[in-house]
Amino acid sequence: MTLLNKLQNHNVQPAALILLVGLLLVLLPHFSHLPIWLSFVTTALILWRACYELQLCKIPNKLVLFLLTIMLLTGIVFSYHTLIGRNAGSAMLLGLLCLKLFEIKSFRDVSIIINLSLFSIVINFLFNQSIPVAFTMLLALIFLFTALISFQHDYKALTKTTPIPLNLIRVNEKQHFRLAFKMLSQAVPFAIVLFILFPRVNGPLWGLPEDAFSAKTGLSDKMSPGRISQLSNNTAVAFRVKFNSAIPLPGKLYWRGPVMWDFDGYNWTAPSNERLALSNFEFTGLGQKTDYTVTLQPHNNFWIFALDLPSTLPERTRLSANMQLLSLSPIQKLKRYNLSSYTRYILPTYTHISNDRYLKLPSSTSTLSKSRLLMNDLTDSKNPKNTIRNVLKYFSTQDFYYSRQPPLLYNDPIDEFLFETKRGYCEHYASSFTILMRIAGIPARIVTGYQGGEINPLDNYMTVRQSDAHAWSEVYLEDRGWVRVDPTAAIPPGNIENTDDALRLNSNLKKPSHLFKSSWLSKQMKQMRFAWDAVNNRWNQWILGYDNKRQKSLFAAIGIPEITWQGLSQLLFSILGVLTVLLAFIVFSNQSKQKNIIQKTYFKFLKKMKKRGLSKSLSEGADDFCCRAIIQLPEQQLAIKHITLLYQQLRYKQYDEERLTLFKKNIKEF
């Protein structure tokens, strides 16, 4: 007979159900990355066990369990092609954990399940560190703790091997929950102190599996038609910006990312060896410098985003020949960096520019025939600026549309786009514009990145989302150097299908009332979105982004400018010690709190009596004191008698809220 069977006989199955709920909560966030079949299997196993607890079905025998295990492992190998690494490893652990549910023979098994569930909570944070997941895990923690307490209690009550602590006798599940909650709340101050003071090191504490950082969405170092438009509905945050000086005009908010110039007829790429080309260069900044701090979400690539063009380099970064900021190591966790940029600038001109790189066209001669014909008309060989103007005019007058769902393009994407579909997203325009420039003999390249951003009025952070991803062109003019041209901006506002895009692309656009009349509901929704975003930002800035720099600046703010990790450790342990003593004091004084309230109130009465010249000796009973007092203060004998009676009843008969209130009131009025 298993322990749970025994427990059932004692009507204590709630403990097992609480454990199952806790386990389900732990699994919930995992479903986002587990294969669908495994999500179903684990849920089904938990439900199976729950049905067994409710005596609705039987549990599988050993052979079935064995077969299930083999099938599970085979399935995982099929899904991941391995059993190790972050993804496959956690999938295996979770699957086996759910199978372990059918192998409960002793309290030891229960404690293994609970401990592995607690470990799975930590695994969750390898995948997702957002607020909802954190809260779900907190809830799971409470459930698991309650289950542990309940099992411990039932187990002790059953085996009677150890004396049961007094506070565990005769408690129900509700009290177990309360105890778990209480114990966890007592741990909160310790967690906070550990979080703030635990010495932070640069880089991860331990090596995570290689696949731990895969599958982040965002820009890539390749651009092809459809690459960026697939981000257009992705509202995930790319990075947040805090401006320390005036916020640049919306039309100047170009966040520079990967630069590409190699075109094979379909894809734009940047040969990776080009990254190391240049480490410093000069340009002339015009106007006001913009200072800002960027908090970049991890994307597992090297590039970091800066406003066109950065004039300072953050630590551990460098600038590529294409004026793109690059980190020395991939961004695998939240990164914060300070930057200064000039949104108006003049780049230096070069005596020599590698024309074969920036003028290169796809080798295939069968493509681009119509484009070449078009450029014969539009090129002004004497003044490249006129050529640019002509092409932009062509875009604005020839009925081009800006669309989030552009038609697919096949063999000759540029020609197909320019002369057939005429509907495209930014990458279509940037790429065709660049090619047209190259046909006209003007060096040109593609810059990808983000454009715009939304200021959250609640905390004044600018949020740049994946949907703000953008691509534009840069052309080289001999007298001006590289100049940014955003062909998408040439599209007439009326031809932009999505109103959000229209707003983003045309900062000067007046809101046509019929288009942007927002309902009360949508305003509220927007407000809520801002609030949620602000909360998320705080979470990122202070919880996830709390690194040794933040730690140092925090200590600098309270007057300890240079703190070593030894100093931190000393501070940590002394505060923990003080906390322990404090907590112990609170806990022990709480135990006699009821009594204390009565006593404290009665002491107030005694104080008042002392003022009247009567003091009670320690060994004198309240009644004797009352008799003595009445003789001295006969005019107040009723009140004194009443207070004494209430005191005696409260303290020696029964504690009673109502009576206590009356008691307090009487003494106050005395």
């Binding site: 320690l618 009973g621 009843q649 303290r651 020696y652 029964q654």
Partner: protein, 306 residues
């Protein structure tokens, strides 16, 4: 819990007893408390202060049978317990019960008897039964012994050992009446006659009922703290030869409950404990310094009420 219904009867008992034994209301209440707590009472006092009258009064008021044994040094256990005598007419032994087979027994001058007789009585008191000639006989219920003891420094006494004194729940001394009571005593009629005319206020069942109710008097944690503080003081202060035994602690608590009931309360307050404490511990605590008459009072004065 019908404390109130009993309280009138208890009041009546005290009032009636007051008319017989003058000016000793506190002592009368203590004696009644002892009866309610199902304990035996030891009265330690000089002859002629009203010990016998007290015992008789309560027997009368509670509607109980009463008998009295005057202990002497040549008394045998059979004189207390009874004896089997061979009846020639019936050719068999017949048991003649001794004076102990009564509800209220006044054992006068118990320390004049030899230890053998003393222990016969005390065993019967403890076990509420008598075993003679291999046959166990139950004593009538309720059974209540009031023993008197002459001050032990008098000649011809066999002082009771501590272990036997412990069998008495309470011990009191009556003391001389005050001047006013004395005067009234002198001018009034014969007490004995008035005693015989006294109407009983209770019957056996009502008394048993009250005795059972004492168990249900509430004692809070705070009160138990106080009782424990008193006990540990008696053990640790160094004022006494021995500290109070656990039985003494139980006795103290039980008597306090009875006292609370007598005072029409269904919960015990520290004053109850203080009121009964001297009579509960007097015969149990031996001060190290015999010349310190305040040794018992120290318990009341030095132990703070928590």
């Amino acid at each position: 819990m019908n404390i109130k219904s009993h309280s009138n009867q208890l009041k009546e008992i005290i009032n009636s007893a007051n008319t017989i034994i003058l000016g000793k209301e506190h002592k009368l209440r203590l004696a009644l408390t002892c009866i309610l707590a199902k304990g035996h009472l030891l009265i330690e006092d000089l002859p002629g202060v009203g010990k016998t009258t007290l015992a008789h009064t309560f027997a009368q008021l509670l509607g109980l049978q009463f008998s009295r044994i005057q202990f002497t040094s040549d008394m045998l256990p059979a004189d207390v317990l009874g004896i089997s005598i061979f009846e020639q007419n019936e050719s068999q032994f017949t048991f003649h019960p001794g004076p102990i087979f009564n509800n209220v027994l006044l054992a006068d001058e118990i320390n004049r008897a030899t230890p053998k007789t003393q222990s016969a009585l005390l065993e019967a008191m403890e076990e509420q039964q008598v075993t003679l000639d291999g046959k166990t006989r139950e004593l009538p219920q309720p059974f209540f012994v009031i023993a008197t003891q002459n001050p032990s420094e008098q000649i011809g006494t066999f002082p009771l050992p501590e272990s036997q004194l412990d069998r008495f729940l309470m011990s009191i001394s009556l003391g001389y009446p005050d001047a006013q009571a004395e005067r009234q005593l002198l001018i009034s009629d014969d007490r004995r006659e008035a005693l015989n005319n006294l109407a009983s206020c209770l019957n056996e069942n009502e008394l048993k009922d009250m005795q059972d109710q004492v168990q249900h008097i509430t004692t809070s944690d705070a009160l138990l703290d106080y009782v424990q503080a008193l006990i540990s003081y008696s053990r640790e202060s160094g004022l006494y030869e021995y500290g109070l035994s656990p039985r003494a602690g139980l006795a103290l608590l039980h008597v306090s409950k009875a006292w609370a009931m007598l005072n029409e309360r269904d919960y015990v307050i520290p004053e109850d404990v203080q009121a009964v404490l001297p009579s509960v511990v007097r015969h149990r605590l031996q001060p190290i310094d015999p010349d310190a008459p305040q040794a018992i009072d120290a318990l009341l004065k030095d132990v703070a009420i928590p």
